[in-house]
Amino acid sequence: MGTLSQERPRVLIVDDQPNWREALCVVLDPTRYQIETAANYDEAKHRLQQRAFHVLVADQRLVDSDESNREGILLLDEVNGLQDGTQAIIVTGYPSIDAAKDALKGRAAYDYIRKWPEKGEPPFDIQYRERVKEAAEKAGLERRKAITLGFSLSMLINGLTYEGIAENLFPAGTMSCDVVEGIRKVVNRLFYPLQPLARQVGKVWLSVSDQICEILCWSREYSKAALLMIGKEQGLLEARKVPWLKESWRLIKDEQFVSVPIVGISYTIDGMEFEDFAALVEED
């Protein structure tokens, strides 16, 4: 089971100047981080939507010719909207008290670093490397607190049946009604934090038919689309066929477990690209 905390932290570096973009990458140890780069606001926004990063490093001014440009700081709004613990570091060659306040106090940046430090301060590369390390650790901690959609559930629920769930949680032969109750609790605990998250993804289908809610959303942890189904009452019998999916699934009802009142099941839809997902939701 690979969680983000066990993976190499993902870092997104955003700077409009190629030489700085490169420098910001080179300073970081590539065996320690998975690094992606973006050259402007839109590209950075797109990448943030596609996958979850531990750390965003953004240059304050993303259009070099525009002295008033502070798009790097505005990216913090994107990060904060996603609420997945990403820590943002603003770097700049044009620091100001006003911009620092906006970034740190106004938009909860992790740090604000000057590319040309004052006399007596550590060199930029040392400060930068240290801050990215700290920020990645903090993001890992935050993330462990937050449960993200399509990740925990699909990890937990490997099979489509309660049995499948139980097998993931308990050694063979120890399953009982208590176990089922335990699963119900776990699933509920997992599900409730997911709802706001699903909304954050912004593009969510929520169709409530008799007993089943279906939520389609983009799992940024997995970079895959995910479908979450919630049965409101006992007996989540058969998943509705979702028109755009090639397969339909059958949920096997296990007689043993019919008394379970609420369940949630998520599917990770392999092979779907973010673009396809976005287009799909646009159509709707």
Partner: protein, 129 residues
């Protein structure tokens, strides 16, 4: 009828003349109630009980010999702390903002502190006082 409570301010500055002038300006027409102390040790003691609406502290005292004491104040008051710096310093400002507190440069005119206090209170409480 609800009577409006006068905001209480703790002024922490070692410069007596300045403190006197600021206190006088803030207390004019009963707008604010000011308690003035000259060192961080006393400030920590005075600040217990969360009885102030704003703590106005000189940067030299805040980041002086006893930073843990200042951190303790910020931990309890967070955005209700305004650090006043004698000199313009981006490094100090960044440190202050990272802690969640507010930063301003010391104005020449003690009366101008009134604006800074009003602005900080507004940020902290979301309303003009």
């Amino acid at each position: 009828m609800i009577t409006k409570r006068v905001p209480r301010i703790l002024l922490v500055d070692s410069e007596a003349k300045w403190s006197q002038a600021v206190k006088a300006a803030l207390e004019e027409r009963g707008k604010y109630q000011v308690e003035s102390v000259t060192d961080i040790e006393t400030a920590v003691h005075s600040s217990y009980g969360d009885s102030f609406d704003l703590i106005l502290i000189n940067a030299v005292l805040a980041f002086g010999e006893d930073i843990p004491k200042f951190k303790e104040i910020v931990r309890r008051y967070t955005d209700r702390v305004l650090v006043i710096s004698d000199v313009r310093s981006l490094s100090t400002a960044i440190r202050v903002f990272k802690m969640g507190a507010d930063y301003a440069e010391k104005p020449f005119e003690p009366r101008r502190v009134i604006e800074l206090v009003a602005s900080s209170l507004q940020q902290a409480y979301g309303t003009a006082s």
